[in-house]
């Protein structure tokens, strides 16, 4: 991997050290690679992750560097993948299991929710493992290559769930996830893989704490609470609303869904008193419900308007561009919802 290095002084973040422009995908790979180099207990397991480097090439080059023992190609068997990861994790190793598309994680749903999530609680077994893979739509992938499975796991106590939206967090969270002593579900967004780039320090460790949200944009009239790819549409909407309507929108990137950063949610609600929750996943039973419930429970008095949600329509995601665009949340939907809320 060769990263384009910025000249010193050109770095956007203003830090002194050397920086490199890194895509979201490269950031994940860097994070994994650094952890593998740092800790020989870390290994990768999944379909086509070795010589091929994974369907999206996230693990490209890692088998060459770390050997076949630490980058294991498996049969098509998601339960075997997470099962082997769990067993190895009990023994002190730190597996990172790839789901080729996150849609196939459902095949390991029973094992993950029943075995992995409960292991510490019921049996005092440590299971420091990461399950990661490409989630998300906007790529014409259809109903089985576009899913956002976070809601299916939010419901089971025992997981940590992270959904990075930026290259920096992609790197910082995969590293924290690998170091975490509990099972972490790490949902990458395939639309972001090669579409976003960021200057990341070359010589400084990027670690994003699990469980901490991030205020991606400060504002005072209204808060958008979101995560993953929707962060970018939300920021776009916020910029547009500032320009066109003079609205100052705060955008909170949750980054971690479990444990949820209640403090950050409460803080933004108390600051702006109007909230829009935005997620890409379908509406009914999605994450927004839980966020809205918590807001309602913990700072109902601070609300000047109902909390609203922008989410995908309740259908399996079609692949035809016209249909996918209609079903998934678009910037215009966020703008419209914000205007509605601001006028409430």
């Amino acid at each position: 991997m060769v990263y384009w290095r910025t000249r010193p002084g050109l770095s956007s973040s203003g830090t002194e050290g050397s920086m490199a422009e890194v895509t979201y995908l490269e950031a994940i790979r860097q994070g994994i690679e650094e952890e593998m180099a740092r800790d020989e207990r870390v290994f990768l397991i999944g379909e086509d992750v070795g010589a091929y480097g994974g369907a999206f090439k996230v693990t490209e080059g890692l088998q060459k560097r770390f050997g076949e023992d630490r980058v294991i190609d498996t049969p098509i068997a998601e339960t075997a993948i997470v099962g082997a990861a769990a067993g190895a994790a009990h023994m002190g190793l730190r597996p990172v299991a790839e789901m080729q598309f996150i849609d196939f994680m459902s095949c390991a749903y029973s094992f993950l929710t029943n075995y992995v999530a409960t292991a510490r609680y019921r049996a005092n077994l440590k299971t420091p493992m990461v399950v990661r893979g490409p989630s998300g739509g906007y790529v014409r992938g259809g109903p089985f290559h576009s899913q956002n499975p976070e809601a299916a796991y939010l419901h089971t106590p025992g997981f940590k769930i992270v959904c990075p939206a930026t290259a920096r967090d992609a790197k910082g969270l995969i590293k924290s996830a690998i170091r975490d002593d509990d099972p972490v579900l790490y949902f990458e967004h395939k639309y972001l893989y090669r579409r976003i780039k960021e200057q990341l320090p070359d010589d400084e460790e990027v670690l994003t704490p699990i469980g901490k949200a991030h205020v991606a944009r400060e504002g005072k009239h209204l808060s958008i609470i979101t995560y993953s790819a929707m962060l970018h549409k939300s920021l776009e909407a916020a910029a547009q609303l500032e320009q066109d309507d003079g609205l100052s929108i705060e955008v909170v990137d949750l980054r971690t869904l479990l444990p949820m950063d209640d403090a950050a949610i409460i803080a933004t609600v108390k600051k702006t008193n109007r909230v829009l929750v935005v997620h890409e996943d379908t509406r009914t039973g999605g994450i927004a419900g839980e966020i809205m419930a918590r807001i309602n429970e913990s700072c109902f008095e601070w609300l000047d308007a109902p909390v609203k949600r922008v989410a995908a329509h309740d259908v399996p995601l079609p692949y035809a561009p016209s249909l996918e665009d209609f079903v998934l949340p678009q910037t215009a939907d966020i703008v419209a919802a914000c205007r509605w809320l601001a006028q409430y």
Binding site: E47, D48, A51, Y52, A55, D73, T74, P75, I76, A77, T79, A80, Q100, F101, D103, F104, S106, C107, R140, G141, G142, P143, F144, H145, T284, H313, D314, V315, P316, P318, Y319, A320, P321, S322, L323, D325, F326, V327, D333
Partner: protein, 349 residues
């Protein structure tokens, strides 16, 4: 060449007519040419989603599907590389083109990709992406045949990769216990995406897996359409006669990458070249010629017919419209919950 003649003449006792022999050629050639057209469209970015080729595997799809009896209402469940099987069952190129180009009139109305579409009347049911899941589905379809005492047969394809899934195991085991009229076609094409056979399973041949389910297994050269037909026909006949499930392993090779984007870096040129020489269409062409079952002119006429058919189909489909965005909302349930539809209207109105 005597050897070719010997290979070709042996399956003839299964009773294929000259016109049926031409049919087999037609479907294989149609499959390949249609996929070539799709590749062109893909390069023009007119295809939505990936493009999955069955280059070199046409005999496997066509020969096995041809062993079913369409008049009896047999049903098969193809995978992404079984375009040929679907064509045999009556899927039309224009439908396939519409699917790949996400047209409003496509069988799934722009909802599910590529050849994932159904027609139970014609006798095919589209897969979902989750590998292995069609095995339990076909167990259920053939269970209905058994319960209704129909003499219909089901066929389901599984790759060397898909056989590692839990769904495959649960489905075939259930079907075996129930002695359902099901033929499981195990396509051994050497790879599952980039994963070679020996990293997928410790068996030497997929047919060994039949033993673990207490069902008969057989192996055939998947690049010899008549051998494929003969082996599958035996299993279909057994199923129809109440003899239960069989597993047929077809030995073949995936000559393109997993999908068009995959450059097959993990495959050696030698291997590729060796299999190019075993091309099933070239081989069958030679068989037909050598045995005198078809003249070069016969086959040229078929090729020409296919070319015209596909020219017309591509021309027609290219100009068709994409679906209307709002059409995405209906059809999740028989009776859509009214309140939700109202909400949709409010949001978008």
């Amino acid at each position: 060449m005597p050897s070719a003649t010997a290979t070709a003449s042996s399956p003839l006792p299964t009773g294929l007519t000259r016109s049926q022999l031409h049919d087999l050629y037609y479907y294989m050639r149609l499959t390949r040419t249609l996929e070539e057209r799709l590749t062109n469209l893909y390069r023009q970015t007119k295809v939505i989603g990936g493009l999955f080729r069955s280059l070199g595997q046409e005999a496997d799809s066509v020969g096995s599907a041809y062993a079913l009896d369409r008049k009896q209402g047999d049903i098969l469940s193809p995978l992404i590389r079984n375009l040929g099987s679907m064509l045999v069952q009556g899927a039309r190129p224009v439908e396939v083109l519409r699917q790949y180009m996400a047209k409003a009139e496509s069988p799934t109305r722009g909802r599910e990709l590529n050849i994932h579409f159904n027609d139970l009347e014609r006798g095919f049911i589209g897969q979902i992406s989750h590998l292995g899941d069609m095995v339990p589905v076909m167990a259920g379809i053939t269970l209905s045949f058994k319960m209704r005492k129909q003499r219909r047969v089901g066929m389901v394809y599984v790759g060397d990769g898909a056989m590692s899934t839990g769904s495959f195991h649960e489905g075939i085991n259930f079907a075996a216990v129930q002695r359902l009229p099901l033929v499981v076609v195990a396509e051994n094409n050497g790879y599952a995406y980039s994963t070679p056979f020996h990293k997928q399973t410790a068996v030497k041949a997929l047919v060994e897996k039949a033993v673990g389910y207490g069902i008969p297994g057989a192996q055939a050269d998947g690049n010899d359409v008549l051998a494929v037909y003969a082996a599958t026909k035996t299993a279909v006949d057994r199923a129809r006669a109440g003899g239960g499930v069989s597993l047929i392993e077809l030995l073949t090779y995936r000559r393109k990458g997993h999908a068009e984007h995959d450059n097959q870096s993990y495959v050696s040129t030698d291997e590729l070249q060796a299999w190019e020489k075993k091309d099933p269409i070239d081989r069958y062409t030679k068989q037909l010629h050598d045995a005198g079952w078809a003249t070069p002119a016969d086959l040229a006429a078929i090729d020409a017919r296919i070319g015209q058919e596909l020219d017309a189909a591509v021309g027609q489909v290219e100009s068709e419209p994409m679906p209307e965005g709002a059409s995405a909302l209906d059809g999740v349930l028989e009776n859509p919950p009214r309140a939700e539809l109202e909400w949709y209207r409010r949001l978008h109105g």
